[in-house]
């Protein structure tokens, strides 16, 4: 009998776009981790003499208005994007899984109350809510992480709840109850691992959204503050020189596009490979 895991691989490998997405993500992760080794210059090192220099061998992506190497700044900027994405998604998963599993497992009143709360959260225009909170708390990278996480868990909560509603009726849950296992253990040890596959898919796609939001916040000046580099604020600074120095806006823009696209492709590939109904269509 084929193992579930190897079956998943067979289907995932067939999806070229997903593989491309996954490899790009891995490369970007490596770049972020080893940015200090790869970067030819210090990202904060200024040299007015070579300001706004176009791409060359020495500065592959050119320099900015203070003569800083854009390539090095971009490499360091990837750390911001990925860490914001990872932390924000972890926060949103944490809240979403707890709210969703409690709502789905206990049902009835608990479910109604929690799900109405989710509805209320979803009614807020999330981006303006984030801007307001950051304006109040002050623009710091960990505020950005928390705010993105705390405003994007609702989808996960709904997903987990739906999974739990169906898992709750399964025989093995009943069997665990019969054997005297506590509710907490049933929720986290028995049901949650069975609900994780679709959660991972949403988490991957949420990663893309979180990165995009961080870039937008930084672009508006509410995210990572200069001189610390982030793709969003490199883009903002370059905006003024867009007609004189196209490289200042093109490359960070491209980087955001590529990373968001990669996460989306990877997430969709995961979803297709994990969903047996979509698998069959794939075979035909």
């Amino acid at each position: 009998m084929l193992k579930q895991r190897s079956l998943f691989w067979i289907y995932f490998k067939k999806n070229r776009l997903a593989i491309a997405g996954a490899s790009t993500i891995s490369v970007i992760f490596l770049i972020a981790i080893f940015a200090h080794l790869i970067a030819p210059f210090d990202p904060g090192e200024t040299d007015i003499a070579i300001k706004l220099a176009p791409p060359s061998f020495k500065h592959p992506l050119g320099t900015d208005q203070l003569g800083r190497d854009v390539f090095s700044r971009m490499l360091y900027g990837s750390r911001v994007s990925l860490s914001v994405g990872l932390v924000a998604v972890s926060i949103s998963l944490f809240i979403g899984i707890i709210v969703g599993s409690i709502a789905g497992y206990y049902g009835k009143m608990v479910d109604s109350v929690l799900m109405r709360f989710v509805d209320i959260m979803m009614c807020f225009p999330a981006f303006f809510l984030m801007l307001t909170i950051i304006a109040l708390l002050g623009p710091k990278i960990h505020h950005v992480m928390i705010v993105i996480g705390a405003t994007s868990w609702m989808g996960t909560a709904r997903f987990v709840r739906a999974e739990f509603l169906s898992l709750r009726e399964r025989d093995f849950v009943q069997a665990a109850k019969v054997l005297g296992v506590s509710d907490k253990r049933i929720i986290f040890r028995h049901m949650l691992p069975n609900a994780l596959a679709p959660v991972f898919v949403t988490a991957t796609i949420d990663m893309a959204t979180a990165i995009l939001i961080e870039a937008s916040l930084s672009f508006l000046g509410f995210g990572v503050q200069p001189p610390a580099p982030s793709w969003g604020n490199i883009l903002t600074e370059g905006r003024i020189y867009i007609f004189d120095a196209w490289w200042l806006t093109l490359f960070p823009g491209l980087a955001i596009l590529i990373i968001v696209l990669s996460f989306n492709l990877f997430g969709e590939g995961l979803r297709d490979a994990l969903d047996p109904r979509l698998r069959e269509e794939g075979i035909k």
Partner: protein
């Protein structure tokens, strides 16, 4: 008669649904001695499973509720216990196994993990010790290569093997009572016999009592000491296995016994009880079996009294003498 392990006294479990009240269990009483096996027999939907789940207080509430009755286990009424005390009883003192071994095991954990979990939930033992015990249990339920099987996932096992694993989990803490809810129904006939044999062996070995829920009188004949025949939430006939099989005094029991297929017979047709199980939210007046009964007389509509046929043998039929 004071040392019964379990005494269920006029248990009433109803379900309050939007389409009306379903009286799933309506005044069921029986008792089980230590080491004894009670066969709970009846058609689908007669309240057998609900009775079993009521004993463990696992009726989904709402819509279900235990309205009345007592469930005395070693003298204490389980209906008075707190949820926490009940959790210690479940799996520790009373266990249950289900009909569907295919879905009763968690697909994402190994067999070993699931057995050791049951042990560590109830006993303060370390991982290693629990693992040792798990191997012992797998040996006990006659699974070959228990050391390797510990690392198998449920999907790598056959139905019979999974039911053995379920049994191993259920008896992990040496319960006094095992409720087996149609444990052989989903299995092949040959495997059925093996599982029955295994249950009987384990019961003898640990002096465990057994409630065997089934619709198959043939199965119950092989294992039960006493039999309770249920219909529409009521016990229609109650007695020792011998009394029920040799001297059934209830037309419903008779009907069930006649419906057992006989291999050597020359007849072309299988005997059946005419009609269907009545809608549980809309039961007939008086005797609930009246519309399907071959002995029905107008008096049957007036009430449903129970008569003592002989010592320990009861029948809920006013014409029991003529059965």
């Amino acid at each position: 008669m004071t040392n019964q392990l379990l005494k269920v006294d006029s248990l009433k479990t109803h379900f309050f649904t939007e389409s009306g009240v379903i009286r799933a269990v309506e005044g069921v009483s029986f008792e089980i001695m230590p080491g004894e096996t009670l066969g709970l027999v009846g058609e689908s939907g007669c309240g057998k499973t609900v009775t079993g789940l009521s004993i463990l207080r696992l009726i989904p509430t709402p819509p279900g509720r235990i309205l009345d009755g007592k469930i005395l286990f070693n003298g204490t009424d389980l209906l008075d216990l707190s949820e926490l005390e009940m959790r210690e009883i479940r799996g520790g003192k009373i266990s249950m196994i289900f009909q569907e071994p295919m879905t009763s095991l968690n697909p994402v954990f190994t067999v070993g993990d699931q057995i050791t979990e049951t042990i560590t939930v109830h006993k303060p033992v370390g991982k290693r010790e629990a693992r040792k015990r798990a191997i012992e249990l797998l040996k006990l339920v006659e699974i070959p290569n228990p050391e390797e099987r510990l690392f198998s996932y449920p999907h790598q096992l056959s139905g019979g093997m999974r039911q053995r694993v379920m049994i191993a989990m259920a008896i992990a803490c040496n319960p006094h009572l095992l409720i087996a809810d149609e444990p052989t129904t989903a299995l092949d006939v040959t495997i059925q016999v093996q599982i029955l044999e295994l249950l009987r062996e384990l019961k003898e070995r640990f002096r465990m009592s057994l409630i065997f829920i089934t619709h198959d009188l043939g199965v119950v004949a092989q294992i039960a000491d006493r039999i309770a025949v249920m219909y529409a939430g009521r016990i229609f006939e109650y007695g020792s296995a011998r009394q029920i099989f040799k001297h059934a005094k209830n037309p419903y029991t008779k009907g069930l016994l006649r419906s057992i297929p006989v291999f050597e017979c020359e007849k072309k047709y299988l005997n059946v009880i005419p009609g269907e199980v009545p809608d549980p939210s809309n039961l007939p007046e008086g005797c609930k079996f009246f519309p399907r009964c071959y002995l029905a007389i107008p008096e049957c509509r007036k009430g449903e009294p129970t008569f003592q046929v002989e010592e320990g043998h009861w029948s809920r039929c006013i014409r029991w003498k003529e059965v």
